[in-house]
Subunit: 298 residues, 4 copies
Amino acid sequence: MIPDTTATLLVTCPDRPGLVAALSQALYQHGVNILDADQHTDTVAGKFFQRIRFDLARGPNDPQPGSMASGEIDRSDLERTVAEVASRNAMSWSLRYGADIKRVAIFVSKTDHCLYDLLLRHRAGELRCEIPLIVSNHEKLAEVATQFGIPYHVFPITKENKIAQEEEEIALLQRESIDLVVLARYMQILSADFISQFESRIINIHHSFLPAFAGGRPYQQAYDRGVKRVGATAHYATGDLDEGPIVEQDVIQVSHRDSPADLIRKGRDVERSVLSRAVRWHLEDRLLVYDNKTVVFA
Amino acid sequence: MIPDTTATLLVTCPDRPGLVAALSQALYQHGVNILDADQHTDTVAGKFFQRIRFDLARGPNDPQPGSMASGEIDRSDLERTVAEVASRNAMSWSLRYGADIKRVAIFVSKTDHCLYDLLLRHRAGELRCEIPLIVSNHEKLAEVATQFGIPYHVFPITKENKIAQEEEEIALLQRESIDLVVLARYMQILSADFISQFESRIINIHHSFLPAFAGGRPYQQAYDRGVKRVGATAHYATGDLDEGPIVEQDVIQVSHRDSPADLIRKGRDVERSVLSRAVRWHLEDRLLVYDNKTVVFA
Amino acid sequence: MIPDTTATLLVTCPDRPGLVAALSQALYQHGVNILDADQHTDTVAGKFFQRIRFDLARGPNDPQPGSMASGEIDRSDLERTVAEVASRNAMSWSLRYGADIKRVAIFVSKTDHCLYDLLLRHRAGELRCEIPLIVSNHEKLAEVATQFGIPYHVFPITKENKIAQEEEEIALLQRESIDLVVLARYMQILSADFISQFESRIINIHHSFLPAFAGGRPYQQAYDRGVKRVGATAHYATGDLDEGPIVEQDVIQVSHRDSPADLIRKGRDVERSVLSRAVRWHLEDRLLVYDNKTVVFA
Amino acid sequence: MIPDTTATLLVTCPDRPGLVAALSQALYQHGVNILDADQHTDTVAGKFFQRIRFDLARGPNDPQPGSMASGEIDRSDLERTVAEVASRNAMSWSLRYGADIKRVAIFVSKTDHCLYDLLLRHRAGELRCEIPLIVSNHEKLAEVATQFGIPYHVFPITKENKIAQEEEEIALLQRESIDLVVLARYMQILSADFISQFESRIINIHHSFLPAFAGGRPYQQAYDRGVKRVGATAHYATGDLDEGPIVEQDVIQVSHRDSPADLIRKGRDVERSVLSRAVRWHLEDRLLVYDNKTVVFA
């Protein structure tokens, strides 16, 4: 793999004139080359959002005169500059380096289609991350983990042991420096405490077109209602079950011929594609959360 | 237009062996030619559904030997035969003749996109029906009706006059022998009494992907929730608002860039296509209702 | 798995009155229960097509009086009856029994996404078949075959050895009683002789929306043309490369931001879903071929 | 309508570092507020593209200190600044003002669905433009023009008079200061000379998924090939028929049940939505053309 010398800056702040100029000027003065810049203003909320992806590598022919030798830009210099612009404009910001590969933990229960899909896309190079561990409350999918050479950690959850088990899970995630938790059809409700420690870093796939059919057995609910499309929704987990910020959703056509089992079968395809897009966008720093919504710079 | 000599038989009954054979045999003995036959068994509910479209016209070279001269089959003979098969099998059935063009009343308020869409599709030959009248609670769209040469009846509705006005509307619909009422963004709730007189003959378009965002201002609700798709749902009206049997639904992609006004704009396209499909299927006798669901022989 | 006592009859013949009645009557007299019947008349070509799926099992409470004891219907009796109806009506027909599980050979080269997709769907119960072997012209995907416990046969193809290698492949397929060959991104052109031995039994996935971008490197062709959707097409292989009867196709949105590599990535998802649908339909006897087109009773 | 004080800058140039900073800085120094900035780098072609939409209005509380009073920014000052940045960076650029409403001529023949769609969307406020004239080679759609109060100009075209008629058409377009010509199912081929006078300002809708089924009768071609999707393509007209830069395209599902007439009916819906999106994007200055492709900042 080519060494990744890019970085991605995500900012949110109250809207005001000059924000685009201030940021691009600050970056330019460091000699970085902007590869992609995407920006959004929510005029209702009066908020400004921007994603800037740029290259930290400079060659000898760099058109930026003098000051610095070729090679990579100094991270702390760069961050100091961004912090200055940010403080003048009340910006929240994050700066992520392409060289710092994110570490992902996948949580599953007994259903394997989302797990396989993520592992295969990862192997195909679609998801730029490491997957150092899979967590489950069941033994069942251990074999899949083995096939892909990934450690599989089983934490059976009962009413009684839930708090203790979650504490161990959190400890494991921290020990492994996990950046993102993907709930790939994990059939346990995480506690508010767990979620708060990974705010905007847990992506869940819900097997319905939210807010329709929140809660359990959504395909059966959809069947009973007689809908003509079933869907899936990827969202960041929050304390309110199925109420977190939606990242992506989609639907597929169904008909009176489809039994509940058919809805489950058709829904799997939507779950796969919706979840994998959401995970990819998170890994590529394309997502910003505000007001329980997401900005997706896709 | 070529004279339409087809007829369509729709049946529903408890499932049992021999139903397909019994019906096709009965029709064959009358010398009709089956053009389309579509069938569905709901194994959960134990119910059988069939749609048979056939041609009543017979020519001199009809392969059916002897018994009848060429020309069209006698309707009452045919209906007697179907009734016999039906009574032996506890069938509900309806038999509609292509020569009997259905008569449609369109109800609107102030929004014209669904109205225009239906009128243009009608003119283009996509909807086989007559549209002898448009009903509204506002004057606003009278001009559209004029353009298409269709009488426009205004019934302003208030809390006080609602019952009386609905009675006049019903009288008008009966006088005009209306077969189908299309609520093409009609912003009044029909009374249970009105609906009961046109059971499974009122199609409403709701501007959300039901059951998500039932009730008022669905696009604003969708915006507030931060969904990534907005939808529309065509359903038969029942006494429970937005709870009737769903005929068709679809969605369109939206993003954080879309304001509530953008959702309304994008949603219009989905409303149009969803409503027009539902109306066309009804007009072509492709719809059966049971258990608050629909079978769509599309 | 529940023993499958269903059978599926597919017929094609010149259109004439009474076909539906003749077939359903013949089946009914054998005491079978029709589960699904779908029918199509091509009025331009004057051709009639029907798919009838029925249950061969009869219980003691069978409503059909007397003649036969409970248990399964005799296959040769049934086939004799169908043959009689067929000969009276110039029908081509095939009768397949659910109990006779089809045997599928998957051909691959170096690309694994379609292979994995088929194997996972098979394991999930979406594809009712056996997959006794995988054929490739490369070693590369042997490991995938091993994971799923399927024999992997390598036939390296060169200009010189092509005819000999194909003969060995055909011998293998015959020895293994293969019913269907799936070219799951197999990057070799089969000879006309090979194809003729498996007429309408080889499904290929072409990675473009045919007839656009036939031939090699279709994603690069699509990139060069600047299209806004890329697609995939599953078709039966014929002697004319990329010209065989289309079974299924679909597209996905792309934009100026997508490099050729992005088109390949996005296209994989379409290839997977298009190919798997085509294979499932074939396995469920939902496909009929005529005039280089397909009838899909989906 | 609120006075539109926005402007949109579109630029194309060889890629090099500092372009985003240079442009945003230049605009910022004029005190404009950037509302939207979208940018793309084609790394293969080494080209940079940007669309910046900004507000020219400044209020008394403008954060930009001193130099200018409140009110609108001076156009010629602004353009001089942009021209300077452009000349330093070998940029092609265009600057369009929201206050300058574009003027659109719609060309039609006998088919009215795209014409109606554009006129209704225009009336609904979806298309920000004036439509001062409709051109046709037939009388047939004059009545539609009348309904919407738009002058309808008939230029019957024959082999003999084509050059002369086109000259009159061009004169009319120039007299009416037409910015964009929309070929809304106009069944005449424009001469290379006509097209060259409106380069990248003529949008045509072709009723197939190009490059499949270029040329005449594409739905019949699609029917004959047995495709499972039909499509439509909006593209800028060039001297090579159906070979111009694609702006938008989409498809709709069809089946063996669809006759050529059904393909035409289903295709109308795709044509409408594809053409209207392309026209809207052009009107909103979201399109850039290069290498016979388009960049769509949608």
